[in-house]
Amino acid sequence: MRRRTRALALGTALAALLPLAACSAESGPPVLTWFINPDDGGQAEIAKRCTDQSGGAYSIEVSILPRDAASQREQLARRLAASDSSIDIMSLDPPFIPELSEPGFLAPIPDDVAAKVSQNVVAGALAGATWNGKLVTVPFWANTQLLWYRKSVAQAAGIDPAAGPVTWQQIMDAAKSQDKFLSVQGAKAESLTVWINALIEGAGGQILENPQAPADELKLGLDTPAGKAAADIIGTIGRENIAGPSLPTEDEGVSLTVFQGDKGSFMVNWPFVWSATNASVEQGTLPQSLVDDFGWALYPQTDAAQPSAPPYGGINLGIGAFSKHTDLAFDAAQCIVTPENQAYYFVANGNPPSNTESYNDPAVHKAFPMADVIRQSLEQAAPRPQTPYYNEVSTGLQETWHPPSSVNPDTTPQRSTDFITAVLHGEALL
């Protein structure tokens, strides 16, 4: 029996050690792991192209993060807090960059690389990649929301968004007069914060007046005329049922479904809606006439007296501070963000480039006839507040501005300010 035990122990030890031996025996160029947000395969293709172009210096392997931005942040923050050396490159949603940069989770960008990757980058994307006056991530693609409309509905309602900017009040009235639904994102999710921020910035306000301050000194700009104007628009759309019954659970995907349906009228959404709808037409699930009825314009104005501040999103590339190959990772990041790759990514997956040069590519204009509007929108776009406490601010807003029908300009901004302040001071749960 004892002999058998020993044999078993030896077997177990071998079984545990053999895979390790296999690892160390592996040869070839260093493998860089790129943590990507899920897409239609564009980032994997770019990884392949850059691996080929590196001439054997490195090979990039992609690892897919969860679907929604909040879960992506959770996973990356946990791994980085544990000094995970397997994170070489990561696709980051801009609002979460300060939180990861502040504790030193992102490798500092060498000046020559910073100078190179900031060339010809739209203003919004550059601002989103910066924290405390320093470029901390490499701008990759930049997203913005447009106003999408059904030409037939707009015409019937007597407005023409293509001719010049329209206000929220105008599209609300138009949808109501035609007995159609407005497509906006009222679900209790990040998309609600995106909407609130765009409305407040559009009225000349800001969610945070001093975003760089420490948690207990942050000042909120919600209980202001701009905050009240935003609350008025959201509350009215909720209470008067202008967006239909799905509003409290409506995210970007649901918005598109409503917009494509019989009740579709006006929608604020990211450009993916264009490629997604065209793909559905190709598959035969939607008619071509629907795409022909699509119109697009700049994001609606909160206040007719000033230009709108469209939402800014997208993805920047962060280099893990604990990576074993930061130099190679910076080389790879520079390869990933070349204008050619950005143009390819836009055409293939519908994610707009942050580099203005990419917009000169004829393929881009063929696939996205609204490319110039997107570029203008990006120049005009306002990022969400850049603070290491973004998650608290955003979740606090979602907690107090949801459901949209409950939003009241006289009480919601004040209640929201008190609540978020208490959370930031560590006196309340979220």
Partner: protein
């Protein structure tokens, strides 16, 4: 082997004070026992006791994962924040509500299913048991998504199938109100775990001696009387164990709420609150305090069940 050692063990139990000289064989068997159970015991300690102690330790600190340098000892302050916050009490209320309703409905449904399986023709019994177990075999996240899409206002079919029911129409957004959200969450929970309860109860039913039932029938007891006076009293242990296990499980509900509403419209439960604080906000200290409180609640339920209702865990397995 065991037949030979059993008498020795009995002797030891009878005369605990006299020192018994153990034979080599008994010693070897005891050692083997430790070798067999030891690793599992160590693993148990490592994966349960260690994290529990670590959570308690962390709960005494102000500790944010993305600001490791600001970590500071603050005593029981996190508990004060949690216990004085209405968000916690509301989450506790919702959790208790879900626990009580789902366990009650599951026990009733599970008992009916168990009776059906018990009485079903022998040839059908195996098939029936398998069919009933299917929902329990489905991963909770998957079933949560299935129920979510079923009731979803844009992609679901429930609204168009059941629009003849008063209160249900094409425009009903199930996940926009507290009542309707909780209804779907609990329905999904009940659908998924009733099989578990029914199997536990089936085992209890099988233990009820057939003679008792027959004797009662001969004495002229009706079906209802036999159920109330004979079957149920004999199954008490099995029922209480089923209720205890399910209550502990239901109290820790997470997946369904996370997928369907993510806590919107007042559907936040304790586990979700702990998750949102520790994982979402990365506030390890505050989140650990909620987890510790959740753990104490679970211990409380066990204590109430075992001490007050006198659940005999061994009895249900027929060991008493």
């Amino acid at each position: 082997m065991t037949a030979q050692t059993a008498p020795i063990a009995k002797d030891v139990a009878k005369e605990p004070k006299t020192k018994v000289v153990l034979s080599d064989r008994t010693k070897a068997e005891r050692r083997l026992g430790w070798w067999l159970a030891g690793p599992a015991f160590v693993v148990m300690l490592a994966v349960t006791v260690y994290p529990i102690l670590q959570a308690f330790f962390d709960s005494l600190y102000r500790y944010r994962l993305t600001a490791p340098d600001d970590k500071a000892f603050i005593g029981l302050n996190n508990y004060v924040v949690v216990l004085t916050d209405p968000v916690f009490w509301q989450a506790l209320g919702v959790t208790l509500f879900i626990t009580v309703v789902t366990v009650l409905v599951e026990v009733v449904l599970g008992f009916i299913l168990a009776l059906l399986m018990h009485r079903a023709i022998k040839s059908l019994r195996g098939v029936l048991r398998t069919v009933i177990l299917v929902p329990y075999g489905i991963i909770t996240v998957v079933s949560a998504f299935a129920w979510f899409y079923m009731f979803d206002i844009t992609s679901g079919f429930v609204n168009s199938w059941f629009d003849w029911v008063p209160g249900i129409s094409q425009d009903l957004n199930w996940f926009a109100h507290q009542g309707t959200s909780l209804f779907v969450i609990m329905a999904s929970e009940i659908w998924k775990t009733t099989p578990f309860i029914s199997l536990l109860l089936l085992a209890g039913l099988a233990q009820v001696p057939g003679e008792l039932d027959e004797a009662a029938e001969v004495d002229g007891a009706t079906w209802g009387q036999r159920l109330r006076r004979v079957t149920l009293p004999n199954m008490k242990a099995a029922i209480m164990v089923a209720v205890l296990f399910r209550a502990l499980d239901a109290f820790r509900i997470f997946d369904n709420v996370f997928i369907m509403t993510n806590g919107a419209n007042g559907t936040t439960v304790l586990s979700l609150l702990a998750y949102r604080t520790s994982i979402g906000r990365l506030e390890i200290g505050l989140g650990s305090a909620i987890s510790v409180l959740l753990f104490l609640c679970v211990i409380g339920i066990c204590f109430i069940a075992i001490k007050l209702f006198k659940v005999d865990l061994a009895g249900a397995r027929g060991e008493s």
